[in-house]
Amino acid sequence: MAEDLKVDLELDLKGLLCPLPMVRVSQNITKVPVGGIIRAVATDLGSLADIPSWARTTGNEVVKTERVDKEIIFYVKRLK
């Protein structure tokens, strides 16, 4: 559950269009420690496929995705 996840950094990506949600997550991933989690809130539906694909290509992990109304909330774990 999301409540169990300790979030190290919050990112507000609302209103940003592709590729900016991916770019912002990439830019910030090294700001959390290895094992740390970014909670990123986006509204661009394209990010539903883009951010998990980005995570796989960079060797990180989307550990949870939630949808609350128009918001998509990603919990991205830094793995390396």
């Binding site: 269009l17 592709c18 590729p19 900016l20 991916m22 770019v23 990439s26 830019q27 661009d44 539906l45 394209g46 990010s47 539903l48 496929a49 883009d50 998990p52 694909s53 980005w54 796989r56 290509t57 960079t58």
Partner: protein, 419 residues
Amino acid sequence: MDEKAQKTIAGVLDKRMNRQLLYYLDICTRCSICKDACHQYVTTGDVLYLPAYRAEIIRRVYKKYFTRSGKFYPALSEGSEVDEKLLDELYKTTYACTGCRRCMYYCPFSIDTTWFMAVAKAMLITAGRGSQILAELAGAAVIKGESIDLFKDIIIEMLKDTEKELQERVGNPKANIPIDKKGADLLYVALAGTHTILPAAVIFHQAKANWTLSMFEAANYGYFLGDVKQAVAIAKRIIDEARSLEVKEIVITECGHAYRVMQFLYEAWAKEKLPFKIRGIVELMAEYIKQGKINLTQDKIKEPLTYHDPCQVGRNAGFYEEPRYIINQVAADFREMTPNREKNWCCGGGGGLVAQPDLDDFRIKTGEIKVEQIKKTGARIVVSPCENCRLQLDSLNEKYNMGIQITSIMDLVANAITI
């Protein structure tokens, strides 16, 4: 850096060498006409961004490694060794170039700086110094292509809300957004997200088009990265989809580089002839209007409106009249920027710059000329059929407090359609 690594990196230049590039290397007279053509040099005054200097870095490598004087009399050859300093300079100048080709338009010998930039990117990638963020974005697109079954449900889910909006917009509960439709006439390739799907769906619905939506986004970050293999892999996802659905044509959304990759570059890169037509949606919309397949309201937009020719759509692909034809159907007060068409200034956001955060300040600074051009028209609305341009114009609007609205041609048409 050891000699072997230096030779491997310089060897990329040798592999890419052809008559055209040799001609470019030889013919430049250092007349400097290109300095006034490049928005980046004009706004920064930094020699690193002078088109002829960008080429000069490559020329020096050529002189050092591939001429007799470079090999035997290095002190006299004006050649440069491939070292970290040269790669730093190459990185800065290369990934900053928007590929707008305004320099080529004004050069008396039509020297195409983007050819040098393509070689430079290949050298940087070989050196392990390609743009990291562009590599990540290209990698993500390839992964999405390889695991599309994993993402299919997500895409279908995403389309449900958009389909509802479509039904409301066109007043038809049966209106839909088809995917995977075998035998459709056209495969429409949108951008990630839904903002380029909904207006297109409204237009296709009204035109009674037999269409299907691609699972993949049009953007190609492999192209911006300068990695031809990745660029082909990204484009091939769409080509394979079009083949399996047996469509007659691929229609690319308003995205300049995506259109160019599919229309002008893919066949040469992949060494295959495509069995279907490639078109941009602007061309198709103009056709629909001319053929009366869609009808537009006579109540035209009254606010002053201007058009930004995206470099990849205008100067680099030759589409000038179709967008203007459409705009004149929907806007009462269309004002041209000066200069326009092939002489238009780059907005500063192309070439993948909008996706490179380390260039954010640079692209805002180098967008100054575009800001002035827009201001001089007095327009309140700026239309441009390229996502990169629109993202850049959005940034300029915010940073320079312009108070304008930025939109696509598709949105103008979808809003003007009489249902």
